[in-house]
């Protein structure tokens, strides 16, 4: 815990924490205050600092926009006065909603209903009357949280529905998700239509009615286009062209892309945070700088010092595999290409999923990849070294690709969403789903990996192609499985027997996936239970 704390405080001090830190939230919330009145600006700054928020002040709307555009992820929420000399507050509100998709709170000494209504219509998530009280400011974090949860659900639903349609064996679940998705869409329309609905107030920065409603299908097309182009090469024009939706404009795509990027980067950061603060000693990926190394270190250690015994489930084949492969793990977690075939061959011989896992441990070989830097990033994010490199692997594994797990992923994210404390879970699950989305474009994984902002996509996509259902992004699952592995707890493993195949623990998944094509994740009735399991295991896992 000390380790975690120091990382947390370091990050807060250096101001590099991307979003409200899990432990201290809402402290550290990054607020941008815009007001042309210097007296109020000073007062608000003082008040917000008293709430332990990180405050940046601006007396001009133009300056505020510049700051927001400079560092897209530098702020969590914007508070702005309605009346400003250089720009109408409502216009600023629109810009922020469209470009940065941040929650915006309006302020004014004028509480006239028409003004307030205008604020709501333009997408303000709240409207405060001056003089503003401390208690009002203390609560602003709720808008940030609400928006993110909503956003996560939105994307997740999009992806979930897509996956469902793409080959899930569980039509029931599909219906469920379709309903969820529809409800989401309906809610969106409702937001646009219903200006007086206080309940929807804080959910979306809905703009004027001209706004495009991003339906599941539309979003699917969008993500497909993104994946095909390659995340690092995307631009609104390219995406628009590929999407082939005549009525869609470049601006629509641009704004949606912006949201998508922010969403992904937030997911990544949430994951970084989660792993830095949670009891995931096993993965030990607190930050970009230290995560990769420590994980790989522990991985190497496992392989080299016989910790493999943990994984061995009394099957001779395991040992065999271990011996035949080198245990060298590059810092970047890359595995050499030539070993893939070997891995495949060996894996297919293994029947026992646990053993498979074990053998995979031994197969963590340096995997050549062009994007070693990106791998690093990806790696930490997904907590699985093998993920990073997998630009090449997916192609081979694609053959094994099964989408049976997809519904599982969705299940998990759904159930996770209901967990109040699963703040980060919401972000994890969607990634899984999204990753699955990417599966169809293995050739794009390279470029995806190259983008710092979306390593998760790459990962999960690669993984999902072969690992029916267990996206690496689905970290809690992985944790569970890893724990199971480590502890050799058969009991815990039993229900997840086949699921374990999919576990992408330290690259093991590759091996696992080779053999398992028809794993029925559906047997997993309650994903949330699985998610619960790891916490216990964490404590008991002796993984250092």
């Amino acid at each position: 815990m000390v380790h975690n704390r120091s990382i947390i405080s370091h990050n807060i001090d250096s101001g590099c924490f991307p979003s409200p830190h899990l432990d201290a939230f809402p402290a550290g919330l990054r607020v941008l205050v815009v007001d042309d009145d210097p007296t109020w600006l000073r007062i608000l700054e003082k008040m917000l600092k008293k709430c332990f928020y990180q405050v940046t002040t601006c007396c001009l709307a133009i300056e505020a926009l510049k700051k927001l555009r400079e560092k897209k992820d530098a702020y969590d929420i914007v508070i702005s006065d309605v009346n400003m000399p250089d720009m109408d507050g409502f216009k600023l509100l629109e810009h922020v909603g469209l470009e940065m998709d941040l929650p915006v709170i309006m302020m004014s000494v004028d509480g006239e209903t028409s003004r307030v209504m205008k604020g709501v219509q333009h997408g303000a998530c709240d409207y405060l009357l001056k003089p503003i009280r401390m208690k009002e400011l203390r609560n602003i974090w709720q808008h940030v949280l609400r928006k993110r949860i909503h956003e996560a659900r939105e994307f997740e639903t999009f992806e979930g529905i897509h996956l469902m349609r793409n080959g899930s064996n569980h039509i029931d679940d599909g219906n469920l998700f379709a309903v969820g998705g529809e409800m989401n869409l309906m809610k969106k329309r409702k937001d646009l239509d219903n200006k007086h609905d206080d309940k929807e107030f804080g959910d979306q920065t809905s703009l004027k009615k001209a706004r495009v409603i991003w339906s599941v299908d539309l979003h699917q097309k969008f993500v497909k286009a993104v994946n095909r182009i390659g995340f690092d090469k995307i631009g609104p024009k390219k995406i628009l062209d590929l999407m082939n939706v005549p009525w869609l404009t470049r601006e629509n795509v641009a704004s949606h892309l912006q949201k998508y990027r922010l969403y992904l980067s937030r997911l990544q950061k949430e994951n970084d945070q989660k792993y830095s603060t949670g009891g995931i000693k096993y993965f030990d990926l607190p930050s970009k700088d230290s995560g990769c190394v420590s994980f790989l270190d522990s991985l190497n250690k496992q392989q080299n010092d016989g910790a493999i015994d943990n994984f061995r489930y009394s099957d001779g084949t395991l040992k065999l595999h271990m011996e035949s492969t080198s245990h060298e793990v590059d810092l970047n977690g890359i595995v050499t290409r030539p070993t893939i075939d070997k891995i495949r061959a060996s894996v297919s011989d293994i029947i026992d999923p646990k053993i498979r896992k074990c053998s995979q441990i031994g197969h963590n070989q340096p995997y050549e990849s062009a994007e070693s830097e990106v791998n690093h990033t990806v790696f930490e994010y997904s907590t699985v070294s093998t993920q990073c490199s997998w630009n090449e692997v997916p192609k081979m594994l694609l053959k094994e690709e099964q989408n049976t797990q997809k519904h599982f992923q969705i299940d998990q994210s759904q159930s996770m969403n209901s967990d109040p404390s699963g703040y980060t879970s919401d972000y994890i699950s969607p990634v899984n789903s999204m990753a699955l989305e990417v599966v169809t474009f293995p050739s794009q994984s390279k470029s995806l990996v190259a983008n710092d902002q979306s390593p998760d996509i790459v990962f999960t996509s690669n993984l999902s192609s072969k690992a029916p259902g267990y996206n690496l992004g689905c970290i809690s699952d992985m944790e569970i499985y890893q724990r199971n592995l480590l502890l050799d707890s058969h009991a815990a493993l039993t229900p997840l027997d086949e699921d374990l195949h999919l576990l992408l623990l330290q690259g093991e998944y590759y091996n696992m996936n080779f053999g398992m094509q028809n794993i029925e994740m559906s047997e997993y009735s309650d994903p949330w239970i699985i998610a619960e399991v790891p916490t216990n295991l964490y404590d008991s896992a002796d993984y250092s």
Binding site: R42, V109, K130
Partner: protein, 157 residues
């Protein structure tokens, strides 16, 4: 002893400012924001307010076309006046200048109804209050400095 006197005087001054309706709750809020990091926060804010609002006052006087003889000339630009008044009102709310704020609201009403006479009369009333409050607060803060840090302990709620 001197300090105690100062403190008592201070308390009395503040009390009368509240009783006479010159200051409202916002002033207390400012006092509550004051801490070791900003030990003179309230005075700082009040100074900031008067400095910034003085330019608004000049702007208002200009808009109201007060000439030396005091007689009105051109038709008033009510929109512009209302805009400045909105700003002024917002500013005055920051320190809890109750009467000033109330007069501002009145002027805005006169703007809405196009009552030039009402605007001018109200403005003059407001300016009187604005200036008087400044004087009283200056005295108040002087006494605060005299009374010293102990004053912080006995703030009326």
């Amino acid at each position: 002893m001197d300090r105690n006197n100062s403190r008592r005087q201070l308390a009395a001054m503040k009390q009368s400012l509240f009783d006479q309706g010159h200051l409202d709750e916002q002033f207390i809020q400012l006092e509550e924001l004051q801490d070791d990091a900003n030990p003179n926060f309230v005075e700082e804010i009040v100074t900031l307010y008067y400095r910034d609002s003085s330019r608004l006052i000049s702007s208002l006087e200009q808009t109201l076309h007060f000439c030396a003889c005091g007689r009105e000339r051109n038709p008033l630009d009510f929109n512009k006046l209302d805009t400045i008044m909105h700003q002024f009102k917002g500013s005055s709310s920051s320190i809890g200048a109750k009467k000033v704020k109330a007069e501002s609201t009145l002027i805005r009403e006169y703007c809405r109804t196009g009552n030039a006479e009402g605007c001018r009369k109200s403005f003059q009333q407001m300016k009187k209050e604005y200036v008087a409050l400044r004087k009283r607060l200056e005295n108040y803060f002087q006494l605060v400095r005299q009374a010293g840090p102990m004053e912080r302990a006995c703030r009326p709620k």
